[in-house]
């Protein structure tokens, strides 16, 4: 149904359509509207779910872990400091292989305290074992939450997933959106049936046991394999959703726009809208939007960046003391491509090496809500032409 909604409200509607049985949440700007809307739906009798008003984000995530381990579909949402507080439990939930779904309303991390958008919060959790999808628009936010349950609960994946949407730029923007019909969602997303044992007195199992060195590394490797395999499930969800609803997002992992130029800009999230506008007015640059930061679309990047002269990576986060994390990983992918033609993925055919390794430069921009305009994008493209390979500039 075409309707005018705020991004947060739209996410709440999408989540409610997926019928999580247990929601636990703690308020934090700019995520708050999502959990307020879900609480209101429950109070109005429109959402049949248990709703735990947790005393912290740490506890909110812990509670949905308990509920998921008991065998039901679950949801939470957070942002920034709240995500950082969850850090320990993020790793535990991936290790427990539970299909949790969480919205991250991307926001800067303190100090200095700042409530506005960048992506430092979720980027800092890249090693936790969670799938990370970065959306560009509120329509994609709606759709990606519906994908998310399907991907997380896929028996080949069974991993938690965070749908990352830029705080304020998306969460607080009101616009016309398509909210799918319930009957169509039910066809796309069947009810959750756990593949493995849950907490059940009729079949008692111990979950989350203590593991000695001889087994620990195997368990960690299993998570890594599942996370890499999730690429196929992400593509499949994107494809199937596209067939059913007429909307899809690239191949699910990356999305290209006019990427037939010598220069490619790589970025994640809502800033890609500004990048599209900027490159529409010039002839020398295209866009490659990274949608899944985890699993990292290494093979796609190697393939798509072959023969480019310059790759400009825009990070709305920074690994302090080094460079943008997306920049480092893109450059790493291209470096390995030149050295060897062997594929990084065990499930796909070997990628072609880059015919010529492009120059890769980075920009750190938009931290703490600083706007990135089309004019800024143009400046970055012009600077990129003069920068040396491997160089990063702060766009302050």
């Amino acid at each position: 149904m075409r309707t005018v909604l705020e991004g947060s409200r739209a996410v709440a509607e999408a989540v409610a359509l997926c019928e999580p049985k247990v929601i636990a949440a703690y308020p934090i700007t700019p995520q708050t509207h999502i959990v307020e809307d879900l609480a209101k739906m429950k109070s109005d009798g429109k959402l049949k779910a248990e709703y735990i008003e947790s005393e912290s984000e740490f506890s909110a995530l812990s509670s949905i872990i308990g509920a998921s381990a008991t065998g039901v579909r679950v949801y939470t949402a957070t942002s920034s400091q709240g995500l950082a507080l969850m850090h320990e439990v993020l790793f535990a939930s991936a290790g427990l292989r539970l299909p949790l779904v969480m919205t991250v309303a991307n926001r800067a991390l303190s100090a200095p305290l700042n409530i506005w958008n960048d992506q430092q919060d979720s980027i800092s959790e890249r090693d936790s074992g969670w799938i990370q999808i970065y959306v560009e628009t509120n329509q994609e936010a709606i759709d990606s939450h519906i994908h998310a349950f399907k991907i997380a609960e896929n028996s080949k994946v069974l991993l938690p997933i965070m749908v990352c949407m830029d705080g304020f730029f998306l969460t607080h923007t009101t616009e016309p959106l398509d909210v799918p019909e319930k009957k169509d969602i039910d066809k796309f997303l069947p009810g959750y049936v756990p593949k493995y044992s849950t907490l059940d007195p009729k079949n008692p199992k111990s979950i989350g046991s203590f593991v000695y060195p001889q087994f620990y590394i195997n368990a960690r490797n299993d998570i890594d394999v599942a996370l890499k395999n999730s690429a196929e499930a992400i593509k499949e969800a994107n494809r199937d959703f596209g067939k059913a609803f007429g909307r899809s997002y690239g191949d699910g992992l990356i999305e290209e726009y006019k990427n037939d130029k010598k220069i490619t800009i790589i970025a994640m999230g809502s800033v890609c809208g500004a990048i599209r506008d900027a490159i529409d007015l010039r002839k020398d640059a295209g866009l490659l939007r990274v949608r899944t930061y985890r699993p990292f679309p290494r093979d796609d990047l190697i393939k798509k960046l072959s023969g480019k002269s310059t790759v400009l990576v825009l990070d709305k986060a920074v690994s302090l003391g080094n460079s943008g994390a997306l920049f480092s990983e893109v450059r790493d992918a291209l470096y390995s491509a030149k050295k060897s033609s062997r594929s990084a993925s065990r499930n796909s055919k070997p990628s072609e090496p880059c015919s010529e390794k492009p120059k890769v430069v980075g920009f750190i921009a938009g931290l703490g809500g600083k706007d990135i305009t089309t004019k800024d994008i143009n400046k970055m493209i012009d600077s990129a032409k003069k920068m040396k390979d491997g160089e990063t500039e702060w766009f302050e």
Partner: protein, 297 residues
Amino acid sequence: MPSTDLLAPGHRTCAGCGPAITIREVLRAAGPDIIVCEATGCMEVTTTPYPESSWKVPWIHVTFENAASVASGVKAALRTQGNDHTQVIALGGDGGMVDIGFAAVSGALERNEDILIITYDNEAYANTGVQRSGATPFGASTTTSPAGEDSIGKPEWKKNLPMIAAAHGCKYVATASPAFAADLQNKIKKALSIKGVKYMHILAPCPIGWRSDSSQTIQIAKAAVQSGMWVLYEIENGNFKRTFTQKTKTVKEYLTPQGRFKHLKDEQIAKMQEHVDNTWKELENLEKSGVNLVRIL
């Protein structure tokens, strides 16, 4: 003869482990229709060395500070499944419940989650080598509050979590001891018969941390109660009632078999005796007064 206990033998706890005896008794009373959510700690690492487990009931461990939050989620999920019979227990040591997991315990108490929260209190971070916790008693020497020329051990009194639980308006709060097994089991059964949040705090001697003979665990647990160092009581709907009222031993008699107190001088022991006598008197008065601890909130 095979054990019928729900905590199977063969786990890796130390000889004379008070928490192991405690949990065995808890499970005997609770029966099989339960789900246990346990905090990181001694009893977690020793009972589940992968691929083995001592737990014959469903059991989950996530992290150190969230047992009560995990339990809240498990209970919520059971409700959505139409299961109104399975009881959920949040279990942790004093580190996991009195200190690092205190916010999660308080949150679950405040929300009146339909779970039973149990602290097995061995009065230190025993799992990491006996460091001081909020529940470590006055005068105890631990590895981070070692007695020495300038230290009497821990200079503060023990943090009183059962009374803090009561202050949340919790319908049922009880203290217990593995030396009084029938009392402990009765309290577990009573707690599980009540809807809403329940809190139990069980003093469980640790021979390693308390530096006591492993054959004396139950004797020391008993002496704690007989000396008034650990008072057995229930607070049911706000009404305070002791379940053991005879003070037959001195504090010194309780302290003597424990190495953690052996540095204490007579004047410090006298100070502890005075503290125990005062507390005993206050609790006696509280019981007689009929003051309702929930209603005064």
